[in-house]
């Protein structure tokens, strides 16, 4: 209960001002294509040079929580996920926006984010010692199986054909190997100098999601009158609260998946949203509604990616090991002020530690309030005429992908992948499994190689990868996931009518 004691500090005028600044700024930065939470936090570090440690951290903590939620704005309205965490949000969120329900989608996403986020931070407050053990329990072999578990999700994710879903995943896995191999340093598949640095995930996300969008709008031509959406449905906040309360399953699956997976160093943040989305879909009686603008999809994805924020800081705050790129940047923010995370932090600087954590708690709520306030207005983006929209998204894609690393190469990669994805989509492939492959490929590969090196020096490959309770549990989950997907595929085959096959 120590944290309650430091709540007052958050509400000191300067601190609270910074909290609001961080939250609002974070939402704007998060909604800008090409700016991932990591980059947004890194951008803010120089400002903290001039602030007290506590104040600096309040700014960073608030910015972190709200950039993650802000990513949902561009995911829903423009179909450009701001970060890997928001990929799953595009699936149903953007569909809802296209149906004129943008306001509702945004409200649901902010409410779900706040619920997930607050629970995530509470876990950080109360269960840190237990959680830190869990975070360390994942060695290379476990991370490898976890990545494989992610791969098995590919087939069932947003695709009407399992084979094409898997093939999309394979293309993603291959794309991820382009560039320098991370451990050996060998060059692989670099057939153009722009690929020398490999495929940047943020630039790839922009290309794969935004460019097909732009081209689809072009393909409709100028004959189409005006906007995709003529009127944006008004949706009251109270209705949104009711709607979220009606979906406890999506909310709880999202929150639990997000906080459990978010803990695992190096993997969690990126796939939490997608895994939660997939799980919710599997447990939902309305699973055929997913991808067609189902509220559960938005709720699960957003609850998961904000629930991950708190737990993802556990390894950093307890062991001084940054578990995610954003945590690494926050570590820098702490070190600049001479504060070492770890036992030192809670013993000698409890004011800094708890104020920081509290600010994330309050930040979640502020973010939700502010988000709900602008949701109705922001949803009007869907009313922008298509011709303008296509040109704006194209511009944002170019500027956004450039600003990731100030590199023209990333822009080329973005455009090439985007055009490729447009044509692939026309033939029944989808972007989500491809992106999942792109994310999971490097995790699976690096951990497999590292694990096999350790295994080679110790007890052999089989013993290292196949023994131990956690390995066996993960392998069990992989097998269960495959069986479940195949069973669903067979079942759906049986019910597919002849017309559908011809269509």
């Amino acid at each position: 209960m120590e944290f309650l004691y430091y709540f007052g500090d958050v509400f000191a005028p300067v601190s609270f001002g910074l909290l609001i600044l961080g939250t609002v700024g974070g939402l704007i930065l998060g909604a800008t294509p090409g700016l991932s939470p990591t980059m947004a936090v890194a951008l803010l570090i120089p400002f903290t040079f001039h602030l007290q440690p506590v104040q600096g951290l309040i700014l960073l903590g608030a910015a972190y929580t709200s950039t993650v939620a802000g990513g949902a704005v561009s995911a829903i309205l423009l179909k450009i996920p701001g970060a890997p965490a928001n990929i799953a949000t595009t699936l149903d969120g953007h569909t809802m926006a296209k149906q004129g329900k943008g306001a509702k989608a945004l409200q649901l996403s902010f409410l779900a984010s706040a619920v997930g986020g607050v629970i995530g931070v509470l876990l950080l407050i109360f269960l840190t010692p237990v959680l830190s053990k869990w975070a360390l329990a994942f060695g290379p072999s476990h991370l490898f199986w976890l990545a494989i578990l992610g791969v098995t999700v590919i087939g069932s994710l947003d695709s009407s054909s399992v084979v094409k879903g898997l093939l999309s995943g394979c293309i993603g896995l291959w794309l991820a190997t382009i560039g320098f191999d991370d451990i050996m340093g060998a060059q692989r598949f670099i057939f153009h100098p722009a690929l020398g640095g490999g495929i940047n995930i943020i630039a790839a996300l922009i290309g794969l999601f935004a460019i097909p969008q732009v081209l689809t709008m072009f393909a409709k031509g100028r004959s189409d009158k005006g906007a995709e959406v003529i009127a944006v449905e008004k949706h009251s906040v109270i209705d949104a609260v009711r709607e979220v309360a009606r979906q406890p399953r999506a909310l709880s699956i999202g929150t639990i998946t997000g906080s459990v997976i978010g803990l695992i160093p190096g993997v969690g943040g990126q796939i939490a949203g997608l895994v939660a989305y997939d799980q919710t879909k599997k447990f939902s009686p309305n699973r055929d509604q997913f991808g067609k603008g189902h509220p559960e999809g938005v709720i699960a994805a957003e609850a998961a990616n904000n629930a991950m924020v708190g737990p993802s800081l556990v390894p950093l705050l307890t062991l001084s090991i940054p578990g995610s790129p954003t945590a690494a940047v926050l570590l820098g923010g702490l070190l600049i002020h001479g504060i070492f995370p770890g036992t030192d932090l809670f013993d000698n600087h409890p004011d800094v530690a708890w104020t920081f954590i509290n600010s994330m708690l309050i930040g979640q709520i502020l973010m939700c309030i502010f988000g709900l306030y602008v949701a109705g207005l922001a949803a009007r983006v869907a009313q922008v005429p298509q011709s303008v929209m296509a040109a704006v998204v194209l511009g944002l894609a170019v500027f956004g992908s450039y600003s990731v690393q100030s590199s023209m190469g990333d822009v080329y990669v973005m455009a090439a992948l985007g055009v490729m994805m447009y044509f692939l989509e026309r033939f029944g492939f989808s972007a989500a499994p491809l992106v999942l492959g792109l994310i999971l490929g490097p995790i699976a590969e690096a951990n497999f190689i590292q694990g096999s090196m350790i295994a080679g020096a110790t007890d052999g490959l089989g013993a290292y990868f196949l023994s131990g309770a956690l390995n066996i549990a993960l392998i069990g989950a992989v097998v269960a996931s495959i069986i479940y997907s195949s069973w669903m595929e067979i079942k759906s085959r049986r019910y597919t009518s002849k017309e559908e096959i011809m269509g």
Partner: protein, 156 residues
Amino acid sequence: MTVPSLPRVQHIVASGVIAAVGCWVAWVSYTQQPAEAFLFPRLISTVFVVLALWTFAKALMGWTKVGHGLGRIDVINLFPGLIIALIYVFWLAKALGFYTAGAIVFFILLAIYDPAPHRELKTWIKRIIITACYLVVMYGLFAKLLKVYTPREVFF
């Protein structure tokens, strides 16, 4: 359906291209050195080739269930925008600077796809105003707020 429909031919071509890419990836993976670095690509490319050939076979047999291919109207509508977008990304953005090129391309795209009548002066004024707004927002967001230094050649 007696004659192969347009989508069917397209599906064959598309899955054929993917299968060809898969084979190329597999060939590179199995021939390049050092072998340790290509262990994982070998694994992936094997699965890749199998799945791609399966899809190709399905397309040949006309069993493809999903994807509508490209219609003639789609292609005609898409073509100018796609070409301009490609010129913009791969050449103009760097040659003229991001903001100049961005504004020009924005205006051209608007002129092509905006359904408002071309003959009226009002339409053109509106288009110029929208382009100017776009430029101001992009400049404010990326150059002023985020301080990204994008390539600049002409003007700013």
